[in-house]
Symmetry: C2
Subunit: 745 residues, 2 copies
């Protein structure tokens, strides 16, 4: 701490010195720069994608200008008008400021000026927002988070019209609006501002950006390093159940960069929140790069922000939609505005990766600044290359030592496995150790439910998290992983979960036709060890690649294990008989089970349990090694959900009472169906037999026999994942020798 | 009958005479003609869409040729391999024959020849197909219907390689394969062949086409006029519950053209079966046009076949998917092969309507004959015009006097209402008088469930109709119409239903912003009269067009009425309180009710019952005039469905006990939601009050008041639909004067 304080002091002196030398900064300099604007003006009419974006932004802004400025007295939650209006205001003001710079038309500056002055007149007497739900209420919005959004954008708007305003106007705005605003979201809301959390990132960026425009060193320091002494007690929880203050609480923008990002650029809250936090991260880092390049914020932690853009793009399906890990809204994709920012900045300030250009082409818009211009010019000049996603393993945790997320991809995203063995992921984390989801192109084969929330739809709980997010979406049984004795991982304790993480055992995507990821979890259920190994295999005897799943469970006690598959589609058939009750009852009373109806119940009739479904024109079959005592359950989400907050999606579940056991399953995509041609092709599984031929502490071996009698063997070394280790194993009298952690032939 | 026989005799003599003069026909002459082929060869390489189709067909056929010919011993239902293989064989053989003609490469003729000879060797000893489910089993397939498909295609294949074959080969094929085949599907299967039904159409066309190629006058006559004395008793039912033989049974191809088509070209079974029957109708009519133009089959009944193409295209949503009236599979669209045939033939032999070209462009393929060439040339020459669908009223019944289907469209299919007031529609008809479905572009707002069948998916009941088609899909409660006392229309009696139809009261689509369709039904529930009036209204005070629905019910007795809305999407909210049971029970025991779970039950709390949902990024609100005693039910399909044959779709239902009553409702599309921008726009209804201000035998008047207090009035004259009649009515002391059946202002 002592060294750090000295460093800070030196920095402060140094930057003050710089300020003194530079005297007054020129404007704009925050995101747009003088040089950048000149280059843009010179290129107007010559760069199709940039011009199209200007045209489209102009249309939007002109429409708003014509409608007139409205700054209503704050009243509503995120679904209501006043929320929408104030949000729209800062978005449009930022755009109008940019247009003013690019097009040199005063009407845009006047619009920004008048709006800011209207806010100035309103702000000084504005009480706390009347909605009381937030742990950190805002003034314009129901939570300080949204107030911070406002300031991040308005700082940019202010910078672009800075020179258009009179000194008197600037003083008025700074004294009555911007500085009090920055103090309010920081000093007056330390519980919001002084954490490691996407909320704080927005707060830090907001304070820092207005600090940069106003040349207010105190605010800049507060942004980078947080509030020295926030006076908060240890503990406290926010609306999402996240802890507000821990021992040795880290704080400030740099801490928010250090902590949640792994060295690979994975953001511990998951892609949905990374997408959300990416904007303040990048825009403030960029502002720092423009105004204070000496502090190297954009390059902090070995360029982790630029790596984060790459990580985020890789955490999307073939349609560009982000995997809904933890609290994630389905459908959110790299078409969202913050990803336009991310892609353009990553291109311009990174290595000019031509693959990013093809994403920008799909986005069909660019940032209206020098980075967006560069992207648009490069696209015009034909430099774009396809963004081909490959398998990737992303570590989690500040040092990359807290588990991670492994994504295996076969072909051109023909089959994608998302395997989660990460840390808890802060307050938006789910209790889903060693869970996974599976995609064929952009279609879910087995889903991750995502969050339970209708973001910004006021009628649904004000657009906020619904209680089913906690009672269903976060629970273990809501995920494609093992639940034990009807309990959640870590007993559903956020505090406990936050201290633990799964561990990678093996990630090997070097061979295209056999890719393997494997991880262990020993803390979720004390006394029980789970070791899950998942492989994407393209075998010559199979039409398409399939997924092999080996979940080896070892426990001190006998337990009831539930092993669900949240398949997407309509049941085609199963190879077992099931009874369907006439009346549906919930499967349990808590931990998510209260939201599942039991639609059918059966027992295995052969050594393999088979279950097929049709999803979006494709057939899928689960083949799972059965034990005679297994119970096979058909479930549907929606029990105890009187407000219809949950989707009525289906599930299939293997229930097994055992101490040690190994669940071995294959998810096999096959064939297709078209309602236009009515051709039903290859609608049946190609697997005749799936068998565990060896399973002990050292090795687990599985044989896969297809309908024509071809037999393949997958052997996993359970204890040594070294790629150079030599193995020799006898199975049924035959000896197998190989090098490395697994064998497949 | 006497006159008809004489006419037939004259025809026979005349055509025999022609045959004698012509001696031997040239080949090909059935679909391709000598002249046509020459024109095609001359244009090869010059017409992009035609060339692309040749290329794509060649690729398909070459692949099959490489794989070798397989004519397995018949064994499977429609989901199995032998079914698939024999179906694929006739499809490929027809294509190979065409390629032989166009490309003059003998390998295609050899392929067809060898396949036909292989069939010839197999056919003579072939027993009935082993699957016994069909009322008319085939030999190659489980039903004669599919055998007929085979012959329709193989006749074309034979014609194209006719001259390539030796006379000896031809004799062998004709004597051992084609003639016995034709006799089998006709003489030996009169129950299949001798009806008015799409089955018979295929049978007739098959017999006729091979007759034309073989110049077999007896077969041609049998095709056109059926079997004179089939020896069948009156009665009998087929697999779908359709009656096989009635008194004065009509038969033969011309009868099948006369009877099920209305003068407007609507096919009484509905668009799904029209699409299916369209191919044999058109292909045989075209063959007749080529070989026997004097008989004017293609022009029969005032060009009803060409009108039928237009009607069919108009019975599709914005994505080209056919409305699933009666037994209809969702997703079937004008991209299907038989519609390529239909569109190309309608263009070439009709009025060269340039709008058809834009459909052909979307289909992205053409027929490989002279009509396809013409279409492709016209497209190349830039003649295509957009196929803009407008509102259309299609009568049902041989003379257009048996009700019909009214389609109202606002904007560019922004809102489409499909109102069904037709006849029963033969054995594929549903008990859904005065039902409707509603679309926004290609998205269903309120659905017609369609059929319950997984066509060609073997695991699902052999790919055939499932029992839930009868127990759910056909029932009244499965549709958006009135069910009385839990009964089906006509007591679910096909026999009774087949004798009745609804009656049009009014169709007026002359004014774009107020379009009205209205019909009555007095037979579905004896003693009860339903009069339903539906309007699409675009009011200046509303963001989008909405649908007004007035269902006036008058009965001799007090009844329990169920009035369902099968909305597509997730519940947003309702303005009434409902109780949701923890355990779900079926709503009833029969007539479809056994398949509905009751998910919620409530009572109205105000004069209007409001219920909102989110479907595919759009908000919708139902506003319905409430009565205090109404019960409001939230339902879900899926009870008593152990095989998961039904989709778990939702429904909302108003239950009312009354004698006379009027259900007045508005379905209001509004706003939008994007998971990418997370913007929730205009998520609430704009209707403050919906009120019945007058309702008697003469008039029903409804007022619609929006949130700003603007009030609109819709008045319907219940007894006089004349467009010239003058009306005058006092409501709440104010006098309204207007001309015509309705008033809206």
């Amino acid at each position: 701490m002592y060294v750090k304080k000295i460093t800070k002091l030196i920095l402060i002196v140094a930057t003050l010195a710089i300020s003194i030398v530079v005297q007054a900064q020129e404007h704009p300099n925050l995101i747009l720069t003088k040089d950048g604007v000149e280059k843009i003006r010179k290129n107007l009419g010559k760069v199709p994608l940039f011009d199209a974006t200007v045209e489209s932004v102009k249309k939007t802004v002109d429409k708003e200008i014509a409608a007139g400025i409205d700054t209503p007295i704050p009243k509503d939650f995120s679904g209501g008008y006043t929320h929408y209006r104030h949000k729209q205001n800062f978005i449009i003001a930022q755009k109008a400021g940019v247009l003013y710079q690019i097009l040199e038309d005063d009407k845009y500056a006047i619009y920004v000026r008048d709006m800011l002055l209207q806010y100035e007149a309103m702000y000084k007497d504005l009480p706390l927002h009347p909605q009381e739900r937030s742990y950190a209420r805002g003034k314009l919005f129901w939570q300080s988070l949204n107030d911070s959004n406002w300031l991040v954008y308005m700082s940019q708007a202010y910078d672009t019209v800075y020179n258009f305003l009179t000194e008197e106007q600037r003083e008025k705005l700074e004294n009555n609006l911007f500085r009090p605003f920055a103090d309010f979201i920081s000093l007056e809301n330390p519980a919001f501002y002084n954490r490691v959390h996407n909320h704080s990132t927005w707060g830090n960026a907001a304070v820092g950006m207005i600090g940069l425009v106003m040349e207010d060193e105190e605010l800049i320091q507060r942004a980078l390093y947080g509030i020295e002494d926030d006076g908060l007690p240890i503990g406290g929880i926010d609306n999402d159940g996240g802890t507000i203050k821990v021992e040795d609480q880290k704080k400030g923008f740099l801490a928010n960069l250090d902590d949640p990002f792994s060295p690979d650029g994975y953001y511990t809250e998951g892609p949905y929140y990374q997408r959300y936090a990416m904007y303040p991260f990048l825009i403030f880092a960029l502002a720092m790069e423009n105004v204070r390049p000496d502090l190297k914020v954009l390059q902090h932690k070995d360029n982790v922000l630029l790596k984060g853009v790459d990580a985020l793009l890789n955490l999307s399906d073939a349609d560009g939609e982000f995997f809904p890990l933890n609290d994630g809204q389905k459908g959110m994709s790299y078409y969202t505005a913050s990803l336009v920012t991310a892609v353009d900045i990553a291109y311009h300030y990174g290595d000019q990766d031509p693959k990013l250009l093809s994403v920008a082409e799909k986005q069909n818009q660019v940032l209206l600044d020098q980075s967006g211009l560069d992207v648009a010019i490069a696209i015009r000049d034909g430099k774009a290359k396809p963004f081909t996603k490959t398998s990737v393993n992303l570590s989690d945790g500040i040092n990359g030592k807290q588990g991670g997320v492994g994504v295996l991809r076969y072909g051109n995203e023909d089959l994608t496995l998302v395997f989660k063995y990460a840390a808890q992921g802060l307050s938006h984390g789910h209790y889903d150790k060693l869970s996974y989801s599976l995609y064929e192109k952009g279609d879910e084969i087995l889903q991750d439910y995502g969050l339970s929330r209708f973001v910004n739809i006021g009628q649904k709980g004000g657009g906020n998290y619904l209680k089913e997010n906690k009672t269903w979406a976060k629970t273990t049984i809501a995920h494609n992983t093992l639940a034990q004795n009807g309990e959640m991982h870590f007993g559903g304790s956020y505090k406990v979960a936050s201290t633990e993480h799964s561990d990678l055992y093996l990630f090997d995507a070097t061979k295209n036709n056999v890719q393997v990821v494997s991880a262990t979890e020993v803390n979720a259920y004390p006394g029980t060890k789970m070791h899950r190994t998942m492989a994407l295999i393209k075998d010559q005897h199979f039409e398409k690649a399939f997924m092999l799943d080996i979940m080896k469970v070892q426990s001190d006690t006998k337990n009831e294990y539930d092993f669900p598959f949240y398949y997407m589609g309509q049941v085609i058939n199963g190879n077992f008989k099931w009874e369907s009750p006439t009346n549906l009852e919930p499967l349990g009373a808590k931990n998510g089970y209260q939201h599942l109806y039991l639609e059918g119940k059966g027992k295995p009739t052969t050594n393999n349990t088979k279950f097929s479904w049709l999803g979006n024109g494709k057939f899928y079959t689960l083949t799972s090694v059965a034990e005679e005592s297994d119970e096979l359950l058909l479930t549907r989400i929606g029990a105890n959900d009187p407000e219809f907050n949950l989707r009525r999606d289906a599930g299939f579940m293997v229930r097994r009472k055992a101490k040690d056991t190994t669940f071995v399953s294959i998810i096999e995509p096959h064939g297709s169906y078209s309602p236009v041609s009515e051709a039903s092709l290859n609608s049946s599984s190609n697997i005749a037999d799936l068998k565990i031929v060896k399973d002990n502490d050292e090795y687990t071996a599985v044989s896969i026999t297809d309908l024509k009698g071809n037999k393949q063997l997958f052997i996993l070394s359970n204890k040594d994942a070294s790629s150079s280790e030599k193995h020799s194993l006898k199975i049924n009298g035959k000896k197998y020798n190989w090098v490395g952690p697994y064998y497949y032939k």
